[in-house]
């Protein structure tokens, strides 16, 4: 296997990881601040992708499509927070899981009802199509590089928001003691709606960005949601840093596993068997990674008990 191919796969893994980070950051923020496990997060990813595909088809502008994905996901996020989610904060996790599972059914069927069962397609904008030559003569997709940059920029922005701004201070305070910041005159219910909408917007953005690589279809959010859970378990719940580390780790492990394992097995097996054993094992690799981390740190790499 050539080194160029390996570097390409590492970049693909980074891009996948960065996208998982956008999903996992919202999930972990919502869990950290409100103590809520939100299965409907994948639905907001789907909402973002559909909004982007619809607006891109309508206006032809990719930037407007991205803005639409942010706006639609934040709007639907705020809407379900106001109508359903806020009744669940004081409930146990089982109720949260079931109510948000019900939201998934509603979102998926409603989307199928509005857009039909056929997948939509979102085109990569002209300026970002094609490849860029990296130092060392590696040709790499401009669009995927852009996703990596956007993801890293969001990570930095989120870090600054939480550690440097007044809103971030309140978010951190809300994580530690919700009664106390309420007593200090902060309107907690507005803060919670904002955090939920922020998490939703990140999921929507990631849905729109990925929508240009894959097809936009009902149910697209669910595999990503499970991966985001794996990321959070590895990184530690409530930690943005953990979400970033976990996401990159999972992205790289999954992408490299899928390309390298069949190739590694082919060294000592016949090619057909190697590809089937390799790909079956590769599909389990991140769960094995998760099991490995749990063996040593049951609360994740950056988690506290």
């Amino acid at each position: 296997m050539s080194s160029i191919l390996i570097i390409e796969q590492i970049l693909n893994g980074l891009q996948f990881g960065v996208m998982l980070f956008l999903m996992a950051a919202g999930l972990t923020l919502i869990f950290g601040v409100m103590g809520l496990i939100n299965l409907a997060h994948g639905s907001l990813y789907m909402v973002g992708a559909f909004a982007a595909a619809a607006v891109a088809g309508w206006t032809g502008s990719f930037l407007l499509a991205l803005a639409a994905s942010l706006a639609a996901a934040a709007l639907f996020g705020a809407l379900i927070e106001l109508t359903v989610i806020r009744r669940l904060y004081a409930r146990d996790h089982l109720d949260q899981v079931l109510a948000t599972f019900a939201l998934i059914l509603i979102f998926s069927e409603a989307t199928r009802w509005v857009f039909g069962s056929f997948p939509l397609f979102l085109n990569i904008p002209e300026a970002l199509s094609g490849t860029l030559t990296l130092p060392g003569g590696i040709e790499y997709s401009r669009y995927r590089l852009t996703i990596i940059l956007i993801g890293l920029a969001v990570a930095v922005g989120l870090f600054l928001l939480i550690s440097k701004t007044r809103v971030g201070m309140r978010i951190r305070a809300g994580e530690n003691d919700r009664e106390m910041i309420g007593a200090l005159g902060v309107d907690i219910s507005v803060l919670y709606t904002l955090v939920f909408a922020l998490g939703a917007a990140l999921a929507g953005l990631s849905g729109a960005l990925v929508g240009a690589i894959q097809s936009v279809e009902v149910g697209m959010g669910e595999p990503v949601l499970i991966l985001a859970f794996v990321v959070i378990v590895i990184g530690g719940i409530g930690s943005i840093k953990g979400a970033l580390a976990g996401a990159i780790l999972v992205g790289l492990t999954d992408t490299l596993g899928r390309t390298m394992l069949p190739w590694a097995f082919a060294v000592f097996m016949d090619p057909a068997a190697a590809s089937s054993v390799g790909s079956a094992l590769a599909s389990m690799l991140i769960y094995i990674l998760m099991a490995g981390v749990l063996l040593f740190k049951p609360t994740g790499l950056f988690g506290s008990a």
């Binding site: 996790h93 079931l98 859970f229 719940i237 599909s283 769960y287």
Partner: protein, 328 residues
Amino acid sequence: MIRERYLNLLIGALLLIVPLVALQLDEPFIITLATKAAILALAGVGLNLALGQGGLVSFGHAAYFGIGGYAMGILASHAQDYAPLMEAPFLIEGTNLMPVIWLVAIVASALAALLIGALSLRTSGVYFIMVTLAFGQMFYYFTISWPAYGGEDGLSIYVRNQFPGVNTLDPIQFFGICFVVLMAVLFLVNRLNKSPFGLALNGAHQNEERALTVGINVYRLRLVAFVISGAITGLAGALFADLNRFVSPTMFSWHTSGEIMVFIILGGVARLFGPVAGAAVYILLEHMLGGISEYWQIYLGLILLFVVLFAKGGIVGGLARREVRHDG
């Protein structure tokens, strides 16, 4: 206000009477629906032991359901093709005998539950939910990318497996098998819940520190409950595969885990007959809403949302009105 014991009798009797009436009216489809309800109820009874009694919110029980299903699919497909499962170091042949298939399903899903449980139970709360969910999905993706037994397309079995002395192709006789298995498991689970093991499990659910203080090994206790729970759900998976004569990765999908959980919530958490009532109502809803609209899952979602938000305790809980704690 009905005493729960009489309510349980009523639920059990209804499940038995409906297919018998359908037999008289010559409506085999209703018998099949009742069979499906009985099998899914069994899966729910399995999960309820971990979730209701033990407070372990496992979101990955589709794993055991699917393992049970594939135990049936793999054994029966080898019997169908007369191809042994394994020749060296010793010969294992496929089989189409239900009791053997059940045993394999139970053992295989118990082993998987032991492995997954041993790892997952190191965590608790929301980590536990996410970890079990993730391990459940691992099996889903594995079966999809493993072409030997049909991969994404699944496996079809052309003739239903056999049970000595019973014609399993007759819907009412197959229903009889499933009903008897369900009742036998309910009897065992009831005995288990009232045994020192069940009391300790429930005690550890209510107050873990106190259970630890009186010298209970909570981790081991929960692991045993998790393994039994997985084994029961695995048995249900084998029966479900036999009902459809088909297994596919869908049995492993997290929607299946969610549905099994829904039976319990609809029926009543930690109630012996909760999953039975829940599964029956779910099948009924699925059938009726499916007739109303192509997008019936929206209505199902709304009903579920309503039950979770406003009708705690589910059907059995609402009718029996005796508080059982399930917050943890």
